[in-house]
């Protein structure tokens, strides 16, 4: 039968299942009522040019659920997400779900603009975030959300006070400042060329004056607008009685600027406006490099909370009602349907079924829950209808507490002081002291206040902070790009230095050291059988064991095609049963076989799966979570770098020790809950260890957020990736070792750069103190020292990684 695409969402379906409609001489096809509704709505509003813009892009079908709308008008919701403007307007930040292309952005903005009471609506296409401003007297938020839903999208709020928004703001601010600085620097440079030529060939004072004034005009905004960050930093440093890099830059630039004004007005000596602008521009660019690679923070936290159900089915007597989770109290009876996510902790009172707890423990195998067993929020009910009694309210349930713990850990993450900050502190103090002494010495020696001032200032100007300012950002930027080429993504430049200082590596087991899913390690055949029957049987289940066998069979014989089975029955946490022609097929664990009268008695450390045809056992599979390739070598290499390696897992001791022994880890902590892992990291940090944590799941997220450096696997959950500092895209254990090596090499380069710029100062400062610095020497030495630092940083690229 012909496949026809839906007029609204462009998804293709069989013609027979589609809703057809005649409009003039055109036949319209819709995949669902939702799409049909949206189409007519857009048409009546005159917005059908949307479809021209859309082209062939496929949308998700418009499914409308409007039963949770009242929560948007609740007081608590308002306090959390809505910002009130001074003039009575309300503002909210939303994440719009279902945006696929620019046409979607256009449509949403257009529809919101047409809505009465909406004053402003802008949607960012790159991250699907929207800012909506509206007049609360004219329209309610629930109505706005309903409008967005009515055109087939969904919106949920997020809190813009998160780090990312702040980071973006600083980035933008720096960008503007750099634009001004670069503009000033480039223009001053060509004026300075005239100045230098004039210095050698002789120039009339009146031309010199014109050039001086032009430089003065260009340098002023650069110093006071672009250089504002340094004055601010110097001020905070002064308040806390610390001399930092900013102190040096601010005082050097300001003094040189003031001296140049004096030289310009008195028409004596040379002006240093070009040096002022150069210092500000170079160091500002260095700072911007650091801001640029600052971590993009934690939007995904919003999306976990955003995607969890906001209501549950409550059983009250004979009736079932949908109730918002805030209104569920302890002791209420809740019904769970297959596929539903648990949001409130409780105890099963009726029914039994398997639960996917991978979000909490990291283990992919489903857990069978019977009457009296606890149900934890964050797990997913897989296969049956269950009723359970709430033992906690939504806000104290595990899922919510994980999210709040996460938010807490992110904000109180310990920061390691960077070497450059410490060095520049001492450096600034010493330079300022030397300048002061020089001034005093020259004043006593020559008796001229003016000469003494000029020489004193030249000490500060020549102690060019450019090299020092670029020492760290240049090296780390090169380090980051080398790592990125090896599929290791460092989210922030400073993490390289922190990781280089680390002496403790904590590894999660499932999904980090191991693949995280069971795969067949051995098959024992009792009698020959048709593999396509087994393939068909296991393909009916989504259980990880069934999936493991499915992949095994497909790898073994690629041409295998599953046959069509009948009477498929899936028995929770036991096995699958089906019939093919007149054969009865059974696949499952030993308990399932015994229940069906099939004898099998085997002992194994691994998960066993049996397959029987008509009551006769034909084959047996042993499955186990396989250890990632190269894990043993990588861990040995990391240990040889003098780093203590520890395994943290939510799994039981036996399998934990089994894996630990295979990869060569001596220290194992098993049966840890998400909070337990975080607590371990915290105690180690209290003992002074700088800890690197590697993990992949929500269960590792708190520990990841707590650790000094968090490394996530590229295939890990969004939360783990977003709280982590480093992401391993290729998921190889060897990459952890490479990350260590790159960060140590980069840290070495940072130290070399600092040493080089100090060495430069050791030569240049005595020259300045003795009064030999001319403008030419100043300009030359400034560029030379910066170039040396840049060149030395480039050497990081020559690092040889063993397994690349």
């Amino acid at each position: 039968m012909a496949q026809i695409s839906c007029t609204h969402c462009n998804l293709k379906f069989d013609e027979s299942v589609m809703i057809t409609e005649q409009e003039g001489d055109k036949t319209l096809y819709f995949c669902c009522k939702g799409c049909q509704g949206v189409y007519h709505l857009l048409e009546s509003e005159g917005l059908d040019t949307f479809y021209d813009k859309l082209g062939d892009t496929e949308l998700q079908p418009a499914v409308q659920t409007n039963d949770d709308l009242e929560k948007f008008d609740l007081e608590g919701f308002k306090n959390k997400y809505i910002k009130e403007h001074d003039d009575g307007l309300y503002e909210i930040n939303l994440i719009i779900e279902g945006i696929h292309c620019s046409a979607c952005v256009w449509l949403n903005e257009k529809v919101l603009h047409k809505t009465d009471g909406v004053i402003e609506a802008t949607i960012n296409y790159t991250n699907n975030k929207a800012k909506v401003v509206w007049d609360p007297e004219e329209i309610k938020l629930s109505k706005i959300i309903e409008t967005i839903r009515s055109i087939g999208y969904n919106a949920y709020p997020y809190d813009p006070a998160l780090q990312e928004e702040r980071a973006n703001k600083t980035k933008k601010e720096y960008y503007s400042r750099i634009l001004v600085a670069v503009f000033g620097a480039m223009n001053i440079m060509w004026i300075a060329i005239a100045q230098y030529t004039g210095y050698f060939t002789g120039m009339q004072q009146r031309f010199k004056d014109i050039l001086n004034v032009a430089e003065f005009i260009l340098a002023t905004p650069v110093l006071f607008y672009s250089g504002w960050v340094f004055f601010r930093g110097a001020y905070y440093g002064f308040k806390n009685r610390i001399a930092n890099m900013d102190t040096l830059v601010a005082s050097g630039a300001l003094l040189a600027y003031l001296y140049s004004i004096y030289a310009m007005v008195s028409q004596s000596g040379e002006v240093y406006f070009d040096s002022v602008v150069m210092i500000i521009t170079f160091v500002l660019v260095g700072k911007y490099l650091e801001v640029l690679s600052k971590k993009q923070a934690v939007d995904t936290l919003d999306s976990i909370m955003g995607s969890t159900p906001t209501e549950v089915t409550l059983i009250q007597g004979q009736e079932k009602t949908l109730v918002s989770i805030e209104n569920v109290h302890r002791g209420d009876l809740i019904e769970l349907k297959p596929g539903e996510k648990v949001v409130i902790d409780g105890i099963v009172v009726y029914g039994e079924g398997s639960f996917d707890e991978s979000a909490l423990t990291g283990e992919s195998e489903a857990v069978l829950k019977r009457k009296g067993d606890p149900v934890l929020s964050g797990s997913v009910c897989l296969d049956s209808v269950i009723r359970y009694e709430a033992t906690k309210e939504a806000s104290d349930s595990l899922l919510h507490s994980i999210v709040s713990l996460l938010e807490e850990s992110i904000t109180k993450k310990p920061r390691i002081e960077q070497l450059a900050d410490r060095v520049s502190g001492y450096f600034s103090t010493i330079i300022l002291l030397i300048a002061l002494l020089t001034f005093a010495g020259w004043y006593l020696y020559s008796g001229s206040f003016e000469t003494a001032l000029i020489v004193g200032i030249s000490v500060i100007v020549i102690a060019c902070p450019c090299a020092l300012g670029l020492a760290t950002p240049m090296a780390t930027l090169v380090g980051i790009s080398v790592a990125a080429k090896r599929n290791i993504l460092f989210k922030e430049a400073g993490f390289l230095e922190t990781m280089a200082k680390s002496d403790l590596l904590a590894l999660d087991k499932t999904g980090t050291i191991t693949e995280g899913k069971p795969s067949v390690i051995q098959e024992t055949q009792y009698s020959p059988y048709d593999a396509s029957l087994l393939l068909a049987l296991v393909s009916t289940s989504t259980h990880p064991v069934a999936k493991g066998i499915y992949h095994y069979l497909q790898d073994k014989e690629e041409s295998l095609q599953p046959v069509t089975l009948e009477e498929i029955k899936s028995i929770q946490a036991k096995g699958i049963q089906a019939s093919y022609l007149d054969k009865q097929l059974f696949g499952g664990n030993a308990l399932f076989m015994e229940e069906n009268g099939i004898v099998c008695a085997h002992e194994s450390d691994h998960t066993l799966f049996y397959f029987a045809i008509d009551g006769v056992l034909v084959t047996r599979f042993e499955l186990s979570d396989t250890i990632r390739e190269g894990a043993k070598e990588a861990i040995a290499a990391i240990k040889s770098m003098g780093i203590r390696v520890v395994m943290l897992t939510g799994d039981h001791e036996k399998s934990a020790h089994h894996v630990a022994k295979a990869v060569g880890i001596d220290e194992v902590h098993a049966r840890l809950l998400p909070q337990g892992k975080a607590a371990f990291v915290q105690t180690q940090q209290a003992k002074g260890h700088i800890t690197v944590m590697v993990g992949d799941g929500i269960n590792d997220a708190i520990a990841l957020a707590q650790s000094n450096i968090a490394i996530a696997m590229g295939n890990g959950t969004d939360v783990a990736i977003s709280v982590s500092d480093v992401v391993l895209m290729d998921e190889k254990p060897q990459s952890i070792h490479d990350a260590y090596r790159i960060s140590r090499r980069t840290y070495l380069a940072v130290k070399e750069n600092l040493a080089l710029s100090l060495l430069y100062n050791a030569i240049a400062i005595p020259l300045a103190v003795s009064g030999y610095v001319t403008p030419l020497v100043a300009a030359l030495s400034m560029s030379l020292s910066s170039l040396i630092v840049v060149g030395n940083s480039m050497r990081i690229k020559r690092i040889r990684l063993t397994h690349s």
Partner: protein, 80 residues
């Protein structure tokens, strides 16, 4: 060469550059470069309709301001 010519050359070229810089800064400040794809789409789908749309939003803002002012007037109690 007279000094005035140099002043003129420096002045005009710096002014022109500064005007360009000011426009760029305004663009950054009003968030025109925040969203790379939208930035490109604005050029691709440039049309009268968007302009009308923007004008409509301006109107809306103005209308609200006016309403607020009127309301203030309404509630204004003369002191006697």
């Amino acid at each position: 060469m007279s000094g005035n010519i140099i002043i003129l050359m420096l002045g005009i070229s710096t002014f022109l550059g500064a005007a360009g810089l000011a426009a760029l800064l305004w663009g950054v400040k009003t968030g025109q470069f925040d969203d790379h794809s939208k930035f490109i789409d604005a050029a691709r789908f440039d049309n009268e309709e968007d302009l009308r749309d923007a004008a409509m939003m301006e109107e809306k803002k103005k209308a609200r301001e006016k309403k607020r002012k009127e309301e203030k007037k309404k509630h204004y109690m003369p002191v006697d």
